[in-house]
Amino acid sequence: MNQTKTNTKASQLDERELIIGCINNDVQYQQILYKQFAPKMMGVSLRYCNSKMEAEDVLQDAFIKIFDKIKTYRGEGSFEGWIRKIVVFTALKSNDKRVRKFEPGSLENVQEQGFDAKAISMLETANLLSILQELPEGYRAVFNLYAIEGYSHKEIGKMLDISDVTSRTQYSRAKQYLIKLLAKYGIQRV
């Protein structure tokens, strides 16, 4: 009964109402917001973490921050973008607690050009995710931030407390590493 009520309410609510409800600490509104964004943000979190359990921890911390800080949302930029940013920052902070390795593996002579793009796109997202999760944490963070989130190397440098040149280098190495991992799945150079 309560579930139906929530779903009905969710469909009727616009973003503004939802935010005001959450600012007022109304658990029902918070639940609607959670249901609306949790799956997408879980997808984001999974990309930065090593396992589902870790990703859920990040998601939990991120939503606590979102509910605590929602009154500071000024309406500048999309609401989803604001939430995504919090999730990304929480994931990075969580990774900070572990050693983020930037050392390259033995990747000599790996070429980044000439891969079968079609074969890659044929791969299931779940497979791609496990490939992404195999990347060392440092590479994964830079790759996620640059290739998927669309941050510039300068912004990444600030976020990870490294220089933008280091970010660029790490990204390049991350890609090389990724290609090597793709080769394991039978995707070879053409």
Binding site: A38, A55, S121
Partner: protein, 493 residues
Amino acid sequence: MKNEIENIFKQKFYSFEATPSAGLFDTIVAKRAKKKRAIRLWGAAALLITVSTVGIWSYSTKTPEQLTVGTTIDTQQNRNTPTRADKSQGNINGIQETLAKTNQQNYGEEGIKEEVATTKDKRLAKLEAKTPGRQKPTNQKIRTNVNPKNAWADLFVKIDRANPNMDLDKGALYLGNKKQTIDKSTGLHILKGSKTSIPKTPILANTTEDQYSNPTLTKTISTHTKKATEEKSEITAEKGEDIKVSVPLPTGRLVALNKWRLQTSGGIGYASRAISETNKDYINLRNSTESVVVSYQFEANTIYQCSPKWNIQTGLQYTIRNELFEYSKPLYVTEEREVQRTQIIVHPILGEIERSYVETVTDTTSQEVEYTSSQNKFERVSIPIVMERKLYVRQNLSLVAKVGINAGVYSKRVGLLLAINNETQEYTRLPTRKSGINSAMIGLGVLYSITPRVSLLAYPQANLQLNSSTTSNAGFNQNDWGLYSHFGLRIGL
């Protein structure tokens, strides 16, 4: 083609969704509620501490006017043994009431009539009449150079001098709950063990009234001390002459009641760290690459004197542990060079044939060293909670010892270290604690009192970190320790 991989990943992942476990939202709600409760609890604790501090502060800085409650002059004539209730709830409204009682016993009802009838307003009116143009005193605190403690003591002695039958040795002066000892011969107020630090006060007999003199008391003593002067040889006034005494109203704060001190100090020291790791080679390598350089520590503390010997201190401590990281990695440089060689081949028909050819030779021509160095800096801010005890006092010098803990609130590490794989690594990459690095502290120092309020201190102290500055993910524990020599200043409020 180059950006194809990025595009594919972006397409696949930007809108990628996954379902989190059921019940995660309930956990979020529960965690937020718990966090709020914790905030409320801390807020209440902070409020309680603030209120208590303000309460203690205001109690310890009572003005003499407020001291009408809690200030008792007890004489043998009034009672034999002062009780705790008497000390805390003495009801003498200023000195005149005590005088009235004392005089009543010594000189009968008549002697005190005038005095009892006199009110504060009348005294002020008389004062105004005596000194035209004098402004009416307000309730504001009057600050003078007169030591209020001594003023009370002087007054007490005067009572004794004015009342020959009074046995001062069995009397006592209480300021708040604190029993004060009076030196009867000099009229000086003395504290146990600090007799020399009490400045000498001028002899009050025959002095003229100053702007803070109390006409009522002057008159009272003047009227009834004729008899006393004949009997008491200590009084310097001539026989039969009215003794006019100026009794400064105790003004300002009573120093004895203020138990607060401020202390600031800075120190240089020798500080290092201990590493716990099963790989002994790694520890040796770290020890060979990191060396101790001078470190610093600064403290600002508030001190509450619980008793003459014990005090508790808290404030802020800022420590900078410096360390020199030097790592020399052997680097073999190889060089390729071409060598002209000659070979003689013995041919069965042609005989010896000389052949020249060029051969490329790779030589290790030199051995260089890749040198890396860094001035490592570890900063820590912590809140010390310390107990200090006076062990020995001799004149202006005191030997003191302290013991306590430092609760870490912030920590930052900058520099290089050798990682387990023997490669240099930045400290910022090492999973370290930013807060919660706690340490134990012990010290033995000397205090030198320049004045009763101001003391210089020299305080060697040792700090030992109780928990590791690295988290469990680092793979090893690292505990800092340090010996610092502090020099500073302590000021009584």
